[in-house]
């Protein structure tokens, strides 16, 4: 189970980590109750500031995807996280769709791309 970070990615590093963990939870690779490595371990392996990873973990915690269990460190809480308004969930989707349309993709191409990504996500975790 890996997180990949890219210095050429426009997202800040902590966001890449948040998104990476979320993708692993969504695909079922990270299941409820599984432990995440300590902030120190991830920061050390990547060679980044402890704060960067701590911010990412805090965000995941705030979204209800992980929680800190005494003696066990950071543990995955649930696949779904806290209840989120439908509208809030749709916002990033809308933003991504806008980018694709502005990038000249047709509706059909967009639907195909979305299906492919969903399929990849399910295959990765062997879930659903």
């Amino acid at each position: 189970m890996f997180l990949t970070v890219d210095s050429e990615d426009k997202r800040p590093l902590y966001q890449q980590i948040v998104d990476g963990v979320k993708a692993l939870i969504a695909s079922g690779e990270l299941r409820e109750g599984m432990g995440l490595p300590s902030v120190r371990q991830v920061a050390g392996d990547l060679g980044v500031n402890l704060n960067t990873i701590a911010v990412a973990y805090r965000q995941l915690q705030a979204e209800g995807l992980v929680h800190v269990r005494h003696g066990a460190g950071t543990v995955v809480s649930s696949r779904h996280g806290r209840e989120v308004e439908e509208e809030e969930l749709r916002k990033p989707l809308r933003s991504a769709l806008t980018q694709l349309i502005l990038g000249g993709r047709s509706d059909r191409e967009i639907v195909t791309a979305v299906r492919r990504e969903l399929k990849l996500l399910h295959e990765r975790g062997g879930s659903r």
Partner: protein, 317 residues
């Protein structure tokens, strides 16, 4: 078999094990990642026809000198005794090899690996690493008990021939190695390449476990030597009976042989696993520079080794 016969047998065993280790492990150590690398440092094509040939010669000269020193020490024990020094010699082999070869590797990295390739992306494993995954605590408790009992025996019943620098040095070796092991396990993995991260992670995990195992056996070797020393100087029945002394030397040598076997088997396995993989620490990311060992661990190691040299110097003076 007479006592001298046993001693000759031990010596023959040592020479064979050392010769195999020399040929299969040490001689071509810099080339184990293939001709594109020197000790895991990426080198340009044709390197070994130019500068690389000199580096290889320097390495071979170092390996030969270390083994020559060890062979001379062994010959001195063989001809002038005392035979008890065989076990100490076995410990010296481990310390001298680790120190000189690590020094050479760090020097090569400083000279040849100044500008490692930089890759934009890196992967990080989400498997938590815990000390308990690498240490067997009941075994550690047994070792701690052996050390404590040895000291109790030496303090309470040590004879007139007892020389304190010996148990002090051995205890220093064991404790220092244990702290180094903890540092090694807790230190960070080098970054994993974004392609084939699982294979790289498996290799690094195996490499870490192998190193810990080799260091564990080294600690057991020193603990055995310490216990043997304590028994010989604190229990008169052992000192008086030549067979019990032979037995103690035999046990220490058996531990040493298992160290050599572990070293060779592990190295072979790692070489097979690492085929086609980029050596750990041979490339940098924008977040982290390539390194052979993390600086903090290198500092800890050299502090420990400096202390060891100091202890030996004090005991000789």
């Amino acid at each position: 078999m007479s006592a001298d016969g046993w001693n000759l047998l031990y010596t023959a065993l040592i020479v064979i094990a050392q010769a195999i280790a020399f040929k299969r492990y040490f001689w071509d150590m810099p080339l184990k990642n293939g001709l594109e690398f020197f000790f895991g440092i990426e080198v340009p094509q044709g390197f070994y026809e130019g500068v690389g040939a000199r580096w290889l010669r320097a390495w071979h000269a170092l390996v030969l000198s270390v083994n020559l020193i060890l062979a001379l020490a062994l010959a001195a024990i063989l001809f002038w005794g005392p035979w008890d020094l065989l076990a100490v010699w076995a410990g010296g082999v481990a310390v001298l090899h680790v120190a000189t070869f690590m020094g050479f590797r760090l020097y090569a990295r400083a000279k040849l690996g100044k500008n490692p390739p930089i890759k934009a992306s890196a992967a990080v494993s989400l498997e938590p690493r815990r000390l308990g995954d690498y240490f067997w605590w009941p075994g550690e408790a047994i070792m701690a008990s052996i050390i404590a009992l040895s000291w109790v025996l030496l303090c309470a019943r040590g004879d007139a021939r007892l020389r304190w620098p010996a148990p002090v040095t051995l205890t220093y070796l064991i404790v220092g190695l244990f702290l180094l092991e903890i540092g090694f396990v807790r230190m960070s993995f080098p970054p994993l390449p974004a392609d084939r991260p699982e294979e790289h992670r498996r290799w690094m995990e195996a490499s870490m476990r192998w190193s810990v195992r080799v260091w564990d056996i080294s600690r057991w070797l020193f603990a055995t030597v310490l216990a043997a020393y304590a028994l010989e100087h604190g229990w008169h029945a052992v000192a008086a009976n030549p067979w019990s002394r032979q037995l103690l030397i035999g046990i220490a040598l058996a531990v040493w042989v298992s160290l050599v076997v572990s070293l060779l088997r592990g190295e072979r396995r790692l070489t097979l696993m690492g085929r086609g993989l980029r050596p750990a620490g041979s490339w940098s990311t924008p977040f982290r520079t390539a390194e052979v060992v993390p600086r903090s661990l290198a500092v800890l190691f050299f502090a420990w080794f400096g202390g060891l040299i100091l202890l030996i110097a004090v005991s000789l003076s």
